[in-house]
């Protein structure tokens, strides 16, 4: 059944809402199995409460002989199974009288799985295939009638025929039969796994003596699979041929719903056919492997001493050795020599960052300052502050402090101070303060 993701989400949400869980103990499973077997043997449709208790007692006696308070446990078990919809009350009388109970479809499916009865065999496959072919033949005839009604211009009759004689049987009868084969295929898969475990168990129990039994198991399983595969191939081919005829009729009559139904059955039949081939192939590999094992390992080591001796060897019981191998180096296929274009690295051109020294006439700073002081005095400056201001205005700020000293020196040389005792400190250009003198220009003589 192909389920779209949104549909799957809806289904899962439904399971959550319904709190769907299954919790079964071994005793529960045993009880369900006992009910199933009793019902089948005695052709019983349901069990009364007394009958249920009897069955439970019997199951307890076998599975848990030491169990006490069996009636109480039986009551709990019935309640648990009813909660999980494995046991259903079928009489509908409620509290008026004691009830009649039957196994639900879910319980039957669980027990059938446990009993592994649904294994694909030649008989079951032949029977199912024959029924399937019969049903598909009926569907084909129904499809022919529906197509004829369509051609005769009776759309309502045709629609009824498509629904009742094609879509319905394809979904229910044919679908059930095909699902039955698929279920039996899964049963056979389980049986094969069991065979493989059985072969291991046989060898572990009786190493050399198990060879014949193992070979017999292998042969019988191989024969079964081969036979089933042949039957599947033959029957599925015949079925697919019929189904394709039906598909053509549905396509010609534009009966899309019927066409979808028949395509789904075709897919199922295809998968059944593919299963046969895949299992045959897988079993063939396993068959060869086991045969080789029996021949190379078991027959050549009847006392099964090799494993023990190898284990001792591995544990360091003997001299260390190493296997010799051929060790030719890999062939070296030289590549064609290709002239690779020389691409230089990306870089800046080298440049001489050092500048050549250039001779500059710096002049004698004292002479410069002296000339400027001379100029200031000539222009009428009469105090040291005034002279300093004028000279410092012509130099860079960082040089003013030094220049102020030089101005004082030059002023003392070029002029004479005429100042009272207390000289004033005066702010001059360049945030400097100097002790001010009053100056008088000296004559050349003086």
């Amino acid at each position: 059944m192909v389920v779209a993701p949104s549909e799957l989400n809806r289904l899962l949400s439904g399971l959550v809402e319904r709190h769907a869980t299954l919790a079964l103990e071994a005793l529960d499973l045993g009880f369900l199995t006992a009910l199933f077997v009793r019902a089948r043997e005695a052709k019983l449709a349901s069990f009364g409460e007394a009958a249920l208790l009897d069955v439970f007692e019997d199951v307890c006696a076998v599975m848990e002989p030491a169990a006490e308070q069996r009636r109480r446990r039986a009551g709990n078990t019935f309640a648990r199974l009813r909660e999980q919809r494995l046991l259903v009350r079928v009489d509908g009388h409620g509290v008026v009288r004691s009830g009649e109970f039957a196994l639900s479809r879910l319980a039957c499916a669980i027990v059938e799985f446990l009993l592994e009865e649904d294994v694909l065999t030649r008989e079951s496959l032949t029977l199912l295939s024959a029924s399937l072919q019969q049903s598909v033949n009926d569907v084909l005839r129904g499809a022919q009638r529906a197509a004829a009604a369509s051609e005769q211009g009776a759309p309502e009759a045709a629609a009824t025929l498509w629904t009742e004689q094609v879509i319905g049987p394809l979904r229910v009868t044919v679908g059930e039969l095909v699902t039955g084969i698929e279920r039996r295929q899964r049963g056979l898969d389980l049986q094969q796994e069991e065979f493989q475990s059985e072969i291991r168990r046989l060898l572990e129990a009786d190493w050399f003596g198990a060879i014949a039994r193992c070979q017999s198991l292998l042969e019988s399983t191989s024969a079964t699979l081969r036979e089933l595969n042949e039957l599947l191939l033959r029957d599925t081919n015949a079925l697919l041929s019929l189904l394709h005829d039906i598909e053509e009729l549905t396509a010609d009559s534009k009966a899309s719903e019927a066409e979808a139904a028949v395509l789904r059955v075709i897919e199922q039949v295809d998968s059944i056919s593919a299963w046969g081939g895949a299992r045959q192939c897988a079993w063939s590999e396993y068959f060869q492997y086991v045969h080789r094992y029996l021949r190379d390992v078991v027959r050549l080591d009847p006392s099964r001493a090799l494993s023990q001796r190898l284990r001792e060897q591995l544990a360091g019981g003997g001299a260390r050795f190493s296997l010799s191998l051929a060790g030719a180096p890999a062939l070296r296929v030289l590549r064609e020599v290709v002239q690779v274009a020389d691409t230089p690295n990306v870089s800046r051109p080298r440049a001489n960052r050092e500048r050549e020294p250039v001779p500059e006439d710096a002049g004698d700073p004292h002479e410069v300052v002296e000339a400027r002081v001379q100029e200031a005095l000539a222009l009428g400056a009469r105090s040291l502050a005034d002279v300093t201001d004028r000279v410092n205005a012509q130099v860079e700020p960082e040089e003013r402090f030094v220049t102020a000293g030089r101005v004082a020196q030059a002023s003392a040389t070029l002029a004479s101070a005429a100042t009272e005792r207390d000289r004033q400190w005066v702010r001059v250009e360049g945030q400097l303060e100097i002790e001010d003198w009053e100056l008088r220009a000296r004559t050349r003589e003086g």
Partner: protein, 247 residues
């Protein structure tokens, strides 16, 4: 699938031959699972035995159902499996003999290989064998490194045809693994059987240094960083080879 070869030229002209020849020369073991190669070797066995003898090596066909090339002269380089590969190979051979692996058609997991090694050697000896110069005290790190080393050994053995790597950390055991059991296979004493195998050139005895795996650590101070190349060493001291041969 049967081929008939009248002369060597027919074998050599077979489409499968070049790849098969290269694989054999690199130490690959060919069994029935490599169906095309096995048929070619089986059908042309007589012709190929003469062919390879001229290169100073023998084309060996074991009754267990596999072929391999064994150098007997100097023309074709010979190499020995490392101590670690020998340990893993013997563990795989034990698993091959175990009916448990038979249940799954010879398919096992890497975990089973390590379990087998632990069962045979014990955890401490196993780690000492795979990490001979271990200095770190961290047990978890050492265990992880040991598992990695075992995995590398499995991969190398698979490249030689002793196993087939499958998905999900699984591997399929192949009959050539029985080579690891040769010294204890017959009725003779293991020492005598081993001496005979040494005389045939099938195996070489390892000295203590090789047996403890220290030869692998000559390149590194701790022995924890060697690559797979270091595990396969060549007897002639030549180049190391990691090429994998696959059918």
């Amino acid at each position: 699938m049967t081929k008939t070869f009248d002369q060597l030229q027919d074998v050599i002209e077979d489409a499968e031959f070049p790849v098969l020849d290269l694989a054999l020369r690199r130490g690959f073991h060919v069994d029935r699972d490599s169906a095309a190669w096995y048929v070619l070797l089986s059908e042309g066995q007589d012709l190929l035995e003469c062919f390879y003898r001229r290169y100073g090596c023998e084309l060996i066909h074991k009754t267990d159902g596999y072929f391999y090339l064994l150098p007997t002269g100097e023309q074709l380089p010979r190499r020995q499996l490392s101590a670690q590969d020998m340990l893993v190979g013997q563990a795989l051979a034990l698993l091959y003999l175990d009916p448990m692996s038979l249940e799954r058609g010879g398919i096992i997991t890497r975990e089973q290989v390590i379990e087998q090694l632990v069962a045979a050697l014990g955890t401490a000896a196993l780690m000492a064998a795979f990490l001979p110069k271990r200095r770190r005290k961290d047990e978890q790190v050492a265990q992880r490194q040991t598992r990695a080393k075992v995995g590398e050994a499995v991969r190398r053995l698979a490249a030689l045809g002793f196993a087939e790597l499958l998905a999900n950390e699984q591997l399929r055991l192949r009959p050539a693994l029985l080579r690891f059991a040769e010294p204890v296979r017959g009725l003779a004493e293991p020492a005598a059987a081993l001496a005979q195998l040494v005389a045939q050139g099938e195996v070489a005895l390892m000295d203590d240094e090789l047996a403890t795996g220290t030869q692998l650590d000559a390149d590194g101070p701790t022995g924890e960083d060697e690559t797979e190349d270091e595990a396969v060493f060549e007897a002639d001291g030549g180049e190391r080879d990691t090429d994998e041969a696959q059918p």
